[in-house]
C-alpha cells in the first residue's frame, strides 16, 4: 500500500493522538535518537520506536525519532530534541553512550535515557539487560534439541555486549548437554545479511543444526540460509534475538527467540516521564524482571524442554546458578 508520510516520524501535531481512542492529552514530548540501524532494524531500535508509538497512543504524548547516519550525527540529533524542549530524549544502543554523556553534562536540566549502556550522570536513566541470562535459556533449548550435538552462534561485531549473548548461550547449552559443541562465528557487522548467510552456511555445513544469532540485520542472512535448507529437506533451526523473530521469519525455521524487552523498558521509563515519576539511575532488567527471556509462545519447543527451561529460569532467579557474562 502506498504511503502515509506521517507514520515515519509520528505525528507532529502533538495534540492529535494517533490511533484514536480516548487517550488522555499530554503535552509531554519524547524524542528518540537511533544509531545507524534506524527504526526498521527488526531489533532494538524498532522495539523502542514501537514502544514510543504505544506510549503516544496511550498517553497522547508527542513522540518523534531521528535516525543517525553516522556516529557524528548523535550529538546534533540529541541536541535537536534537547534544544527543542523535549521532556525526555532516548539514545538507543550502546553506541550513543558517549554522546548521551556529553549531552547530559552540557544540559543538566534535560532528561535523557539510554538503552544497553551505563552513563553515569545525574540526569540520565540507563537501562541494561542481562542478555547472558536470557541467552542461557535459549542455550538450554538448543542443548536439549540438537540432534547433531553441535550448535552454532553467529555474532555481529565482537563486543562485550555480544559476548554476553555468546557466553550465556554456551553456558546454557553445556548445562543440559555437556557433550554438545558450540561453534562461534563473528561476522563483524550488524547490517550485512550476506555475511550472516555465509556464516550460517559454514556452520550448518560443519554439522550444526541450530544457530543462535545476535547479529541484528546480519541475522536475516542466517534465517535465509536456514530457510533454503529447510526447503530442500534439511532439518535446521535458528534462534532469533531481541524480538520474537518467528513473527517475521516464520515457524518453519525459528526455533525460539531470546527476547529482550526493550519495548517494555522504553514504555516504562517514558511513562514515568509522563507521570512525573522519572528517576535517573541505572536499571538492569534481568530474568527476574522479565526483561529477557523466551517469547510467550514457542510452537516448536516441546513441553518437556520448556519445563527444563522454566526450571533453570527459577534457579537463575533464585541465584542458584550464576550465568557468566564474559
Amino acid at each position: 500500500g502506498c504511503g502515509n508520510k506521517n507514520q515515519g516520524a509520528a505525528t507532529e501535531n502533538g495534540g492529535q493522538a494517533a490511533g484514536g481512542g480516548e487517550a488522555a492529552k499530554s503535552d509531554v514530548k519524547i524524542g528518540m535518537v537511533t544509531d545507524v540501524g534506524g527504526v526498521n532494524d527488526k531489533s532494538f531500535n524498532q522495539s523502542a520506536w514501537e514502544a514510543l508509538e504505544a506510549v503516544q497512543t496511550e498517553t497522547g504524548a508527542e513522540v518523534k525519532y531521528l535516525q543517525s547516519k553516522s556516529d557524528q550525527d548523535y550529538d546534533p540529533n540529541l541536541n535537536q530534541f534537547i534544544k527543542g524542549g523535549y521532556n525526555l530524549t532516548w539514545g538507543i544502543g550502546f553506541n550513543l553512550a558517549n554522546a548521551i554523556e556529553k549531552a547530559a553534562k552540557e544540559n543538566p536540566n534535560s532528561n535523557l535515557a539510554i538503552i544497553d549502556s551505563v552513563v553515569d550522570a545525574p540526569n540520565v536513566k540507563s537501562v541494561t539487560f542481562a542478555e547472558n541470562e536470557g541467552s542461557f535459556l535459549v542455550g538450554v533449548v538448543a542443548g536439549k534439541m540438537t540432534k547433531t550435538n553441535k550448535v552454532g552462534f553467529v555474532g555481529g561485531q565482537d563486543s562485550p555486549l555480544i559476548k554476553r549473548f555468546e557466553v550465556g548461550f554456551a553456558a546454557g547449552v553445556k548445562a543440559v548437554n555437556p557433550n554438545a559443541e558450540v561453534v562461534v562465528n563473528y561476522t563483524g557487522a550488524f547490517d550485512k545479511p550476506d555475511l550472516g548467510k555465509a556464516a550460517a552456511a559454514t556452520i550448518y555445513n560443519s554439522g550444526a543444526d541450530i544457530i543462535f544469532h545476535a547479529a541484528g540485520g546480519t541475522g536475516t542472512g542466517v534465517f535465509n540460509e536456514a530457510k533454503s535448507r529447510v526447503k530442500s529437506g534439511q532439518q535446521v533451526w535458528v534462534i532469533g534475538v531481541d524480538k520474537d523473530q518467528s513473527l517475521e521469519f516464520g515457524d518453519d525455521v525459528t526455533l525460539t527467540s531470546m527476547v529482550k524487552r526493550v519495548d517494555e523498558a522504553v514504555k516504562k521509563v517514558s511513562k514515568e516521564v509522563v507521570d512525573g515519576t522519572f528517576t535517573p539511575g541505572v536499571e538492569t532488567l534481568s530474568l527476574k524482571d522479565n526483561g529477557v527471556g523466551l517469547p510467550e509462545t514457542n510452537k516448536n519447543v516441546p513441553q518437556d524442554v520448556l519445563d527444563t527451561v522454566e526450571e533453570y529460569k527459577q534457579k537463575i532467579i533464585k541465584g542458584e546458578i550464576t550465568v557468566p557474562a564474559k
Binding site: 504511503g3 550476506d194 548467510k197 556464516a199 552456511a201 556452520i203 555445513n205 542472512g221 535465509n224 530457510k227
Partner: protein, 319 residues
Amino acid sequence: MDLITLGQIINTTLVFATALIFASLGGIFSERSGVTNLGIEGLMIFGAFAAAIGGYYAEDAGMGGTAAAWVGVLAAIVFGVIVSLIHAVASITFKADQVISGIVINFLAAGSTLYLVKLLFNGSGESELIQGFNKLNIPGLTDIPFIGSVFFNAYPTTYLAIILVIAGWYVLYKTPFGLRLRAVGEHPSAADTVGVKVNRLRYIGVMISGALAGLGGATITLTTTGTFSHNTISGQGYIAIAAMIFGKWNPIGAFGAAVFFGFSQAIRNYVQLFAWSQSIPQEIIFMLPYLLTIIVLVGAVGRSSAPAALGQPYDPGKR
C-alpha cells in the same frame, strides 16, 4: 581439509560469488564498449530494490515464491536498464566525464531507492520480507558424488550466472556484435570509419551492464536478504569492479576473480570453525579476503589491459 569440506566451501563460494559474477560481467560489457562504469554499485542497488518490490507485489498478487522471485528478476533487469540510460545519456550523448556520471548513479541509487521504499512501505526503511529463490537440485546430477553436492545444489541464479558467463564470452569473442563492441572500446574512430555506429553500440553496452548489474543486485535480495534496505548492497558493486579489472575485462577472467572473492569470503568463515582461530585476532580473519586479493594481484604478472579508448567520449571531430 577433507574433500567434503572443500566441496562445501566451493558451494558457499558460488552463492557468494553469484552476484559478483553478474555485476562484473555487466561491467565488462560497458567497459569493453569504452564506457567506464563506476555506477555498478548503484545499478546493483536499483536491481536489489526492484527485485524486492517486484517480488513483493507479485507475492501480493498471489504468485508462488519462485514465480514471484522471477518477477523480481525481471523487474531488476528492467530497472537496471532504465537507470543505466542515465549514465548512457550523460556520458555518451552529452560526453560527460564517465567516472562522474557513474558515481552519480551511485548517489541517485542510495537516495531514491530508500526514498521509494519509505513511500511504499509506510515510512519503513526496509521492504517486506519475500520468499525469494530456493536452492535447486538437478535430478540425477545432484546425486553424483562430490560434484553433485558442489555444483548441482545451488540457486537458480547461480546456474544462470554460469550460463551467462559462457554466453557473454561467446558473444564478445565469437559474434560480429562482440567484435564491433570491442572495436568501439579500443578504437572508436576505426569502427566509425567502417560504418559501425559507435554511440549506438556504447548505449547497448551500457544497457547490458545495467541489466546484468541489476540482476546481480536482485540475486542478493532474492537469495540472501529477502528484503531491501539501505545496506542490502554495501560495496559489492565495487568488488565487482575489482573483479572485472582483476579478470582483465574478460568474462572468464572476471568469473574466476568473482569466484576467488567468494572463496576468500568462504575461507574467512571456515577458518572460524577451528579452535586455533580463536588465537588469531578476528580482524585479521576479516581482512583475509582483501589481503589475499592484493597478494594475488601483486604476484600476477603483467599489467592489466584496459580497453584502449576506455573513458573517452567519442568525438568524431577531435584531432
